[in-house]
Each structure stands twice: as structure tokens, then as C-alpha cells.
């Protein structure tokens, strides 16, 4: 697959202030096709806030967000999603009362659904749109190996399955960029390694650029080409994952000083 050199997602000097607290301080990120970048930092460092800014849930105090070259700073989340930026949530947010298949079809709604009038009159274009939605959802469900769960209520699934469905719903929007917020939280190690393989597959075969926030260092180290470290809202490191482990500032802020003391002893 020919990598497209133009950035899919470009974030410049993004800042967010809550009252007196600078939660995100001049955050920068460039994601090109098939990038796989990790974002780590202590709890409360501003990772989720950065995600919420990028996806339009919060309005930035300053800075720019460009998606595929379009300036979408301050746009509503559904506009940003349609422009090609999809995400998952730290505390899974599925449509609990809908089935797995319906959840995934919702991801395709923005691109394929028939208009209101066409729906109410059930014109041929309505049936065509429903057919397309279904076919796409089916293919996605097959590839995610969710076939057995398709008719189950999403709220009744196990934690791990819910995570997969949520990623599936994000993929159903056919994004260029995928933001994953702690995808391995609550998964056991074997589920985590399955998830890693899956993320890699999505990244490599579909060419989707991925930014992943995670505390599980084995996932971050095993997966990411590039690593960003955020502390108290500001980037303190960006570079290869291996370099992060020896970086003074990163150790100080995140990996812990006492460990180093012990290792030296």
C-alpha cells in the first residue's frame, strides 16, 4: 500500500484551560497514513482531555486541529467523525440497549443512511441504503469475529467483547485516523495480546493511522512506532519507545524514581 505523505491529522499548539488549571498545554501531533503512535503519562496528565479536544467534545482554548488538511478547530464531534476521525472511550460507551449488529450499523449511518423523507415513504433508495449498511456491517462483524454475538444486546457482553464492538463501531465510520483511549483497560494478558494483534492488523492492512493511550507498557512498547509522553498537560518527550525508557524526564514523571534507585542499588 502506497503511504500517503500528507498528514491525516495535524494538531498544532492545542491548549485547554479549565478555570485556573491548564489541562493541556500546547500539545502537538502529526499523524500520517499508517502511523501508530502511543501517548502515555500519569493519570490526570491531560491525555483524555487531549482526545476530547481532538474529537470536538471540548472546545480548545487555543490551537488548531486539521483533519486531512481541513481546519476543523471547534467543529462539532459528528462533523469531525464524518471527516475521518473515529475514537473509542476509556469507559466503554456502547449503545447498550441495541444489538451488536445495530451498534456497528450506527457507525455507518452518517455515510449511508437514506434521508428522512425517503425513510418515511420507504422509497427504493431507502432499501438500497439499508442493504449497503447491512452488507458493510456484516463484513466488519465477520472480520472482527463477532458473528456469534451479532444479535446479542451490547450491554450484556463481557468487558473484552464490548471493547471489540466499540472498536468495530469506530471502524464502521471508515476513518482515516483512530484514537484508542486505554483499549486494554480491564483486559487480561491473553486478551491484551489478541488486542495488540488486532490493532496491528487494522493499522497495517487498512492503513489507518492510530493514536493509542494506554497504561499497559507491554502494549505500548510492543506496538508503537513512536511514543509521546504527556505530563501536567505538556509534552515532555516524543520519539522512539526505547529512548523513552532512558529519558530522565520521562522516568521522573512517569516510570518512577524509586524504581531507578532500586535498580541502581
Amino acid at each position: 500500500m502506497q503511504a500517503d505523505a500528507a498528514p491525516k491529522l495535524e494538531i498544532n499548539d492545542l491548549s485547554k484551560r479549565f478555570g485556573g488549571l491548564l489541562a493541556v498545554d500546547r500539545y502537538n501531533l502529526v499523524l500520517r497514513q499508517a502511523d501508530l503512535v502511543g501517548l502515555i503519562g500519569p493519570n490526570g496528565a491531560g491525555k483524555t482531555t487531549a482526545f476530547n479536544l481532538a474529537t470536538g467534545i471540548l472546545r480548545p482554548t487555543a490551537g488548531r486541529i486539521r483533519i486531512a488538511g481541513r481546519d476543523l478547530t471547534g467543529a462539532r464531534p459528528h462533523v469531525i467523525a464524518k471527516a475521518g476521525l473515529a475514537r473509542t472511550f476509556q469507559n466503554i460507551r456502547l449503545f447498550a440497549d441495541l444489538t451488536v449488529a445495530e451498534n456497528i450499523m450506527c457507525g455507518g449511518h452518517a455515510r449511508h443512511a437514506a434521508g428522512t423523507v425517503s425513510t418515511l415513504l420507504q422509497l427504493p433508495s431507502f432499501w438500497r441504503a439499508e442493504q449497503t449498511l447491512r452488507n458493510e456491517a456484516y463484513r466488519l462483524i465477520e472480520s472482527l469475529d463477532l458473528g456469534a454475538l451479532a444479535a446479542r444486546r451490547a450491554g450484556d457482553l463481557s468487558y473484552g467483547d464490548q471493547r471489540r464492538v466499540e472498536i468495530g463501531r469506530a471502524l464502521a465510520t471508515q476513518p482515516d485516523v483512530l484514537l484508542l483511549d486505554e483499549p486494554a483497560a480491564g483486559l487480561n494478558p491473553s486478551e491484551t495480546s489478541e488486542l495488540m494483534a488486532f490493532i496491528r492488523k487494522v493499522n497495517e492492512t487498512l492503513g489507518i493511522a492510530i493514536l493509542v493511550v494506554e497504561h499497559d507498557m507491554s502494549l505500548i512498547m510492543g506496538l508503537c512506532q513512536r511514543l509521546q509522553v504527556l505530563n501536567r498537560g505538556a509534552l515532555i518527550f516524543e520519539g522512539a519507545p526505547q529512548q523513552a525508557q532512558t529519558n530522565e524526564a520521562v522516568i521522573e514523571a512517569y516510570l518512577g524514581t524509586r524504581r531507578r534507585a532500586k535498580a541502581n542499588a
Binding site: 479549565f18 478555570g19 482531555t49 471540548l58
Partner: protein, 296 residues
Amino acid sequence: MTQYVFQQVINGLALGSLYALLAIGFSMIYGIVRLINFAHGDLVMIGGFATLALVSAGVPWPVILVFVLCVGAMAGIAIETVVFRPMRGADQVTGFIATLAVSIAIQNSTLMALSGQPRNFSFPAFMRQRIDIAGSSASLTDLTIIGLTLLLIGGLFLIVYRTKMGQAMRATAENLTAARLMGVAVNRTIMTAFAIGSALAAVAGLFWGGKFGQIDPLMGFEPGLKAFVACVIGGVGSIGGAMLGGYILGLAEILFVGLLPQEYSGYRDTFVFLLLIVILLVRPSGLFIRQTEERA
């Protein structure tokens, strides 16, 4: 002209006192269990009928006042324990529907028991006289209502800000989980908030009857809704805000009717609820609470 305006202001303050009494209870209950208690207005009716029963039994007025406070408190406790406590933890809308159901049940049970016929209600005759103040005159009824309301609100502030129970109530309202972790018995605390709020509403019923001269089983509906408007004006959940909201609403309503030409007075309630919708849209957290952006 100044005489007229003065009388309108006193009238507005008296009405505002009623709204304030109701709104404070409403706000306390919302603050502590995040429940919009639609049945709160019906305690006005219960207070009104309790007063009427005691008056016809010949009980002296100061005793009636105390009794009505107790009746209101007991009614509040009963509603809380029987209906709302089992539903605590359900979502807000479910709770709201339940309060709507309680309100309809109370109203219609009273209708069944006492019929919808309005009953006459009056304070002792001497309350009808007018008092001269600085060249203008005001009715003793209005002045009494204003005075007693301020006393009751003062007492409430003492309880809330000077006693251990009050402190537990504020803590529970702000963060129920943390309050439990401090060893606060939240069920008892919530019950107390219901009791105090409901007692104030029942006294508002006593005043309401005295001011308007009539009571009926459905009388609580309108003041209940308006207490909510008063809360929204002041910021739902804040006791001081509810009090100010009540007075602002009372004054605004009376001045709307008193100062505009006659033909607009029929739009009084329309005006009140347009005000509500506008405030909800412009400052959903109320006039006196600073807007803050939640950290998502």
C-alpha cells in the same frame, strides 16, 4: 404613585415569601438527592387543609403554626420513605415520573375525600387591618407573612450552617459518597432534609390560604411549579439562591401585573414560564452561580 408602588412591593414580597419558603425546600431536596420533587407543591395543599381543620377545632394560631410544621415534616418523611427511598439510584427521569405520580395520587385522593369545592379560609379579623408605614399603608397579613418567613428562613440557616446535622446535610448534598465514607448516616440525613423542606412548604400553605382566602385540593400545583421556576432563577440546589429566586419571582410577577396595562394581566403565568425557559437557556445554572465548564 409612590404609595401604589410601595403597596405593590409589599404585596410582591409577601408572594415572594411564599415562593421562597417553597423553593428552599425544593432546592434542599434537589440538592441532596438530585430529585425534582413535583409533589412538593402538594404539601402546600396539605398544610392548608391541616390549618383549616385545626382552626375549626378552635386551636390557637401559634399552636397551629407549630402543628402545621409537624404535619408537613411527617408528610415529607412518609413520601420519602415509602416512594422515593426505594427508587434512589434510579435515573433522574424515573424519579421525576414517580414524583409526578405521587402528586397526582395526593391531589386526587384529596379530591375523593373532600371534593373539589374550594373552602373559605381566613386569618383572624384583626389581620385584615392596614398598618401605616412612612406615609404608605400595608396589610398586616402581608407584613406577618414576610416577618414569619424571614424568621423561619433565619432558623433554617442556623440549622444548616451552625449544627452538625446541617453540616452533614451540606456534605451529603455535595458528595454523597464522600459523606458516607465520613460516617454520615445518609438515610437519616436525607430524611431530615425532606422533613425540613416539607415543613416549610406546609407553612407556605398556611400563609397561602391566609393571603388568598381560599384553599382547594388542586391548589398546590401552581405554587409547586413556580417554586421550581424560583429555584432555576437562583440556581437549583442552592438554598440562598432559592430564597432570592423566590423573592425575585414574587416581585416580578406582581410588578408585571401591577405596572403593565390591565389587558396584559392574563398573561401572568405565560410570562413566568417564558422567563423560566429563557433562564434555562441563557444561564442554566441560575443567576447567582458562576458557570463552570465540567472537565469531561
